[in-house]
Point group: none
Chain length 415, copies 2
């Protein structure tokens, strides 16, 4: 199969003003990737005749398949058809089926069909008209100058309906797509993006099928392996082979696949081992607990949390000793360990985890912003405590502390 080069053009001044986010481009791209069609460019352009014509002309030169969304409505602003006619010379005609449908729609809703509405029934001569099951303006596919042009309304719901019901089946038939693309995500924690890439540098640079793409997110990193093949089985085999090589280098940091997150992984490990957990949180303010409760079925492993944001609430809610707090301060290993132990008792869980530190903006107890202690107290009252120095603002420090806790729990719990 020769590769099909696609590009997407989103039409609408509201995109250029930042009033709406271009979710259409991402959604269409994902659908095309699944079909093995490579998207090389996204563009957004306003409702301006000359600029539309320029962008269309450029797209026709470089792509086999051009998707245009938006600018097909009834108002004078809607210029997509006219601009395409201008660059191609393809005639605009009225589609009788669409017109009938529109008239029925307006009659049914007791609304007057204003003359400008007729414009929504305009299509191109020789085009394929795709029914819009959730709105009025149809999709249009037209073959011009060795490029296939696909026009769809910009309203996401209508675009998705036309794409799913009309465009994708049409493309599958027409392009005789016999390549499948499969992806697998490998998730790592405890290793930074640059170190991961460094360890795998030879593999990444020599690899073309599957490709290996590193993706960093807060506190963890993933690799996306994408294989092209003639069928799913072959694609999966290609991915399996490269995964083995990756594991040889960095397997000890791998925690899961595809849509899993470290929070879910820890949840699964706790569940497997029939362990329950409770958290004592100072600077994180319940953010760890909230992440645990994000998991459906959390009650199997989560007993609760004490957000002890004040020194006195550590005493009143967790029955910690005032002497300990006075002697060591709240930002200390001793305080972290006592919090983890006491929350375990008060909430009757097998494991206790605690967070104490300085989220900022000000220092606390002469400790700099970003200082955080995390302590795990296990089923036999053994303590595992670490001190961290996180960067960033208040939110970033709190988020990093929560993420780090899941990392520590993962390494603590994993077989």
């Amino acid at each position: 199969m020769t590769e099909v080069k696609a590009e997407l053009i989103s039409v609408g001044t509201e995109l250029l003003l930042g009033q709406i986010v271009n979710t259409n481009a991402a959604w269409i791209s994902e659908q095309l990737a699944d079909k093995g069609i490579s998207v090389y460019y996204h563009s957004a352009v306003g409702d301006n005749f000359n600029r539309l014509a320029d962008v269309f002309r450029e797209a026709g030169k470089r792509s086999d398949l051009v998707f245009i969304t938006g600018g097909l409505g009834p108002t004078e602003d809607d210029l997509t058809r006219e601009a395409f006619q201008h660059i191609s010379g393809v005639e605009i005609i009225e589609d009788q089926d669409t017109l009938n449908k529109m008239e029925a729609f307006f009659a049914k809703n007791n609304r007057m069909m204003t003359p400008n509405n007729r414009k929504q029934a305009h299509v191109f001569k020789g085009s394929k008209v795709l029914h819009n099951s959730v709105g009025i303006a149809p999709g249009i596919i037209v073959d011009y100058n060795h490029t296939l042009w696909v026009f769809m309304p910009g309203v996401p719901r209508e675009m998705k309906a036309i794409m799913t019901e009309g465009v994708l089946p049409f493309l599958t038939d027409t392009l005789a797509l016999n390549t499948v693309i499969r992806s697998r995500m490998l998730h790592f924690i405890g290793i930074g993006e640059s170190q991961l890439e460094y360890e795998l540098r030879d593999l990444i640079s020599s690899q073309t099928n599957p490709t290996i793409a590193p993706l960093a997110s807060e506190g963890e990193v993933a690799l996306r392996l994408t294989a092209k093949a003639e069928n799913n089985q072959e694609a999966e085999q290609l991915i399996d082979q490269i995964e083995i090589k990756i594991k040889e280098q960095v397997g000890q940091y791998l925690y899961g696949y595809d849509n899993i997150g470290i929070e879910k992984k820890v949840f699964e490990l706790l569940k497997q081992k029939q362990l329950t957990i409770a958290s004592a949180e100072s600077l994180t303010g319940g953010a760890f607990a909230s992440k645990v409760v994000d998991q459906g079925g959390a009650s199997a492993i989560f007993n609760g949390a004490a957000v002890v944001y004040q020194p006195f609430s550590k005493i009143s809610a967790l029955k910690m000793s005032e002497e300990l707090i006075t002697a060591y301060g709240t930002v200390s290993e001793q305080c972290a360990e006592a919090m983890a132990l006491h929350v375990k008792k008060v909430y009757q869980s097998k494991i206790g985890i605690s967070f104490t530190g300085v989220a900022g903006p000000e220092e606390l107890e002469n400790q700099p912003v970003g200082t955080v202690y995390i302590s795990i107290c296990d089923a036999s009252d053994q303590h595992y405590t670490e001190k961290f120095q996180f960067n960033g603002d208040r939110q970033a420090i709190r988020n990093r502390a929560v993420k780090k806790a899941f990392e520590l729990l993962f390494y603590h719990l994993k077989p």
Copy 2:
């Protein structure tokens, strides 16, 4: 002022695969619109040297100001600098300040700085280097062939910091922007978007300067008033005049301006009234507490929270009566009121607030998913309890409950 024509180029194959939505383009566009700078094109292009070079070349021909985000990281995929060098001939040099900062960062975090990291300190000869206050790779501004080129990392948090702290102030100075555009956000809670628009329909449709743009977000709604004028004072006056008319219609729902959120407003009201609060949370799992702690200085008003996710933890951590839970169940007005009262006592706060309900995916105690009780117990032990039926999935229900609590607290506390 001659019009400045800007365009945005987002670099990254993950955009073209539909793995991420291009929120950067919308955000940058909005900032530029505020400055009176017109954005004519958005593009997204993958990490491919030739295609990057083509897109850069085209942009240089048609725009005065080109923003490029992404492709500045440490890996071999990151080709933005190289592609720009190729089309411009502008030399790449190493920025010593950035390098020093990076070395300090890695040393502080006890991490190895792998050689590929040095690349993040690469800038252009003669460029202005903009400090990245939340990450490593700096922003870069370079003037080449009558176009101003602005390079920023693709990570939204870093891009936003560099844009706000470096790029926008620089553009204001350099372009001597002499039309001012001023915006004011008015935030409302307790009124839906469609009702707000209905109440203000005549005002919104007749208004051109300032414009009135309604913006809905989860559980609240805002109006963005945007005025163009020759100077700030004139713009502010235009906005003041329209604000008065808006307040006549819907002033009772207005809670604040600009960057305030309802969480901050409630924080300020508690602080003004010298009240402290503690929360008892079941389905919300600490999410309310975490939102309170998001505010810097939260310790002035927040004593803590008991995340009592199990019936027995309500008894062990909050000393609630087992009989009450047995008699009424945990998803009940009685349980909600007892939680609010007991958390107030255990955490020694003036106000207690509680959440109990069914986040799903399963029903609980024969109550449907989405049932939530929120109860406020005030300084004189008076209870204010409401029952809600929220729509959506587990996360949506929990988020709505937390937002609703801030709304209830706002109306409870406001003068």
